[in-house]
């Protein structure tokens, strides 16, 4: 057998690189958080390269906003980052208010802050649930959603909807809090704290969870800034940047709260920052409830058609996922001329290639989970 001469040119090249496999994850994949899609080049269990694909939820919101009146745009903003609806409404309303130079009644500001912080908790609870699922644990999800459900029922009592509230108005809020709000929130807060604590206890320091997340998906602070990270993802890298503190909007300068930060910028740090943030949000809510004044909640604007003066404005706020920015251009008509949103998860997600390369296939899932993206906002 051995004496048969071989014509090597007819054969595959010597030392041919073993071909990598192309693995497609998404748009329908249980752990791509909606319809994100990534194409992984894997070698064995290692990821060699990643090609992210977004746009499977590109609904053209920015364009649609140009066709809606100012008060109708709020409904579209509700649906951008559909886990943090109040926060989205807030930043939009503030942008228009800034454009119009409108003062918001004190009480309305407090109501807004309380609801936004509740929504932040709800959003982080969803995150805890999904990271649990991604890492393979089901029960934390259930615990987390128990808390979410409680928050949502308070939302329902306040705004009439569980998710798409359309409650904030330009210059105030739609109507005052319901009469039993105090009682509701007094019931809610201890339960919520318990839910947060339980989902924290079962997950954060669990050994397996820790080994899965620690030192995975590490990104340095410089790179994170380069990619435009904001929110918990940036704070996980040890940079203390929070719009609520850095450029306080609304009435955030009146509260005493800390900005949790991580150290290494890995998945676990991001997780930890979020978990701590929930406690901080609870703190803010408690303070806000204490300080809340009475009075009107709708500004003098009333039900008039909103026609801001021509001009341009950029408003930013801290969403659960990071800094959201609204670049609003008005030409004096009743519809925005151009509305551009700076979605936090868009920037956070754009680093996915850098984060995933050279990690395990199994890590891709937790890394993606720890970025906590919401596709509605990424794709708009």
């Amino acid at each position: 057998m051995a004496e048969i001469p071989t014509n090597l040119t007819a054969n595959p090249p010597v030392n041919a690189e073993p071909v990598e496999m192309l693995l497609n994850m998404g748009p329908q994949h249980p752990s791509t958080h909606g319809v994100f899609r990534m194409v992984l080049w894997v070698d064995g269990e290692k990821i060699v390269d990643v090609e992210p694909h977004i746009g499977y939820l590109h609904r053209g919101s920015e364009k649609l906003c140009e066709g809606e009146q100012y008060h109708q745009v709020i409904t579209l903003f509700d649906r951008l980052d559909y886990v943090a609806n109040f926060n989205n409404e807030l930043v939009y309303c503030q942008a228009v208010e800034k454009l119009m130079g409108l003062e918001v009644p004190e009480r309305a500001e407090y109501v807004r802050v309380i609801l936004c912080e509740l929504n932040r908790i709800a959003s982080h609870l969803l995150y805890v649930g999904t990271i649990g699922l991604d890492a393979g644990a089901m029960t934390p999800t259930m615990f987390a959603f128990r808390g979410r459900e409680r928050i949502q029922s308070v939302f329902e009592a306040v705004s009439g909807a569980r998710m798409m509230h359309n409650y904030f108005r330009i210059g105030g809020i739609k109507e005052d809090l319901p009469d039993n709000f105090e009682q509701l929130i007094a019931e809610l807060l201890p339960l919520l704290r318990e839910d947060v604590e339980e989902s924290d206890r079962i997950l954060t320091f669990n050994e397996i969870f820790l080994t899965r997340l620690k030192d995975v998906g590490t990104i340095s602070a410089e790179e994170a800034i380069d990619f435009g990270f904001t929110g918990p993802c940036l704070r996980g890298c040890g940079i203390e940047y929070d719009v609520r503190k850095a450029q306080p909007y609304s009435i955030y300068d009146r509260f005493d709260f800390d900005i949790p930060i991580g150290l290494d910028g890995d998945c676990w740090d991001r997780h930890w920052v979020r978990v701590r943030e929930m406690y901080e949000s609870l703190k803010i809510i408690e303070q806000a409830l204490e300080q809340m004044p009475g009075g009107e909640v709708v500004s003098s604007l009333g039900r008039r058609l909103i026609r801001p003066p021509a001009g341009e404005v950029y408003m930013r706020a801290e969403n659960p996922r990071g800094e959201i920015g609204v670049h609003l251009i008005s030409n004096g008509t009743d519809r925005p001329y151009r509305l551009k949103v700076r979605p936090p998860s868009f920037c956070n997600l754009s680093a996915i290639r850098r984060l995933l390369t050279d990690s395990w296939i199994a890590d891709s899932v937790v890394i993606l989970g720890s970025l906590d993206i919401v596709l509605g906002e990424v794709d708009r």
């Binding site: 497609n24 991604d134 320091f205 620690k214 150290l263 930890w272 395990w360």
Partner: protein, 399 residues
């Protein structure tokens, strides 16, 4: 009297009896599987503060039945890129191995199909065949997730097979037999869990991995490889895998009970039962009681399995393999060595317990340290956080 005769000794009537008993076994196992499915969903439900199935039959008891019927009624798709023969054969191999080991697993003294002298060896030998089925399933469906899952399953299952075999050997040494009935009988006095807790822990953990349950369910992890080797299977084929998985879970639980928890032996002897209103002194009553006792133990073990499933996230493949080869295999070696030494030098029983507990604690501590090692920075983070807070407070007070 050796020679041709014995092979002819199995007459037609015997064969028919055997077939009947095997069919009974099959039915029994199917019912067990249904009960397990129900139990799993209910237990997980309660664990997660919800109800689990309630609307199909009383307490949702018919839920697994409905699932089973529906699966049979489901279209069975064979993907056209798959290797048809392998795609067909794989579930059969898995189910075959799952079913065949039950030939020799006794439910009580008399309730066993055939008692093999080499029982434990037989079980290990046929359990290995099942691994093949999973690899072939992944391979045959020619799906990337499937291949990935198949490979993961192979790597995982073969790695955890070693500790299982070793611990089984250790138990065989203690009982001086590979016959499961003898092993149970040897535990009349003390169940082996008291002698060899190490063995029980290793066997249970490796057993979890063998049946691919959380935290070792990486080969069919939904969030990663969307079902792994089973991704392309539908309808009846898929339900065969499902069946096999649950039969295997049950088998592992049963083996834990048989090897370490004293099987069907009661913790108290017959005299303790004397207070009962004069039990009819018939053999089958005692048998029935011991079967019930056995089943109770098995279901308790299975509940622990579900409980673990409800608590833990899953590991990553490299961590899993490292755990198998760096913790489980050395531990199982250690189990054999200490058992051997204990038996050979006739040391008192408690020495074995102490030795095995020592091993367990040492390795457990090392693993704990290793796993918590990345958390070393957590304290640092907290300190940094506190410093920052203090600083901010100070600056605020200053201003």
């Amino acid at each position: 009297m050796q020679g041709l005769a014995p092979l002819l000794a199995v007459g037609l009537v015997d064969v028919i009896w055997m077939v009947v008993s095997l069919l009974a076994m099959f039915t029994g196992l199917s019912i067990v599987v249904l009960s397990l499915v129900w139990l799993e969903r209910k237990a997980l439900g309660r664990l997660q503060l919800r109800l689990g199935p309630t609307r199909t039959g009383l307490f949702g008891l018919l839920q697994p039945v409905a699932d089973a019927i529906k699966l049979i009624l489901k279209e069975d798709i064979i993907p056209n890129s798959s290797d048809r023969a392998i795609f067909w054969v794989a579930p059969v191999i898995v189910a075959l191995s799952a079913f065949m080991i039950w030939v020799t697993i006794p439910a009580t003294e008399g309730l066993v199909l055939r008692n093999l002298e080499l029982g434990l060896f037989y079980i290990t030998a046929f359990a290995v065949i099942g691994i093949l089925g999973l690899v072939l399933a992944g391979w045959g469906s020619a799906n990337k997730y499937g291949v990935l899952g198949g490979l993961r399953s192979a790597a995982q299952l073969i790695s955890y097979e070693i500790p299982v075999i070793m611990v089984v050997v250790a138990v065989g040494m203690l009982a001086k037999s590979l016959d499961l009935r003898v092993i149970v009988a040897a535990q009349e006095q003390i169940p082996y869990v008291a002698l060899l807790p190490l063995g029980m822990v290793v066997f249970f953990i490796a057993g979890l991995a063998e049946v691919g349950r959380t935290p070792f369910d990486i080969y069919h992890a939904e969030s990663e490889v969307v079902g792994g080797p089973f991704v392309e299977y539908s309808g009846a084929h898929w339900s065969v895998f499902f069946l096999a998985e649950y039969i295997n879970t049950f088998a592992i639980a049963a083996l834990v009970v048989l090897l370490f928890l004293g099987g069907w032996s009661w913790p108290f002897d017959a005299a303790a039962l004397a207070w009962l209103p004069s039990l009819p002194d018939i053999a089958w009553v005692g048998g029935l009681l011991s079967v019930i006792w056995f089943l109770l133990k098995v279901y308790a073990v299975i509940f622990v399995v579900f409980w673990i499933r409800g608590t833990f996230p899953r590991l990553r493949i490299d961590q899993l393999m490292a755990f198998a080869w760096k913790a489980m295999v050395p531990l199982s070696f250690y189990a054999i060595v200490i058992t051997g030494v204990y038996l050979f030098y006739d040391w008192p029983a408690w020495t074995l317990t102490v030795m095995s507990l020592t091993g367990l604690v040492v390795v457990g501590y090392i693993v704990y340290r290793k796993m918590m090692e990345p958390a070393r920075r957590i304290a640092e983070i907290k300190a940094r956080q506190a410093a920052q807070v203090a600083e901010r407070r100070a600056s605020r007070q200053a201003s």
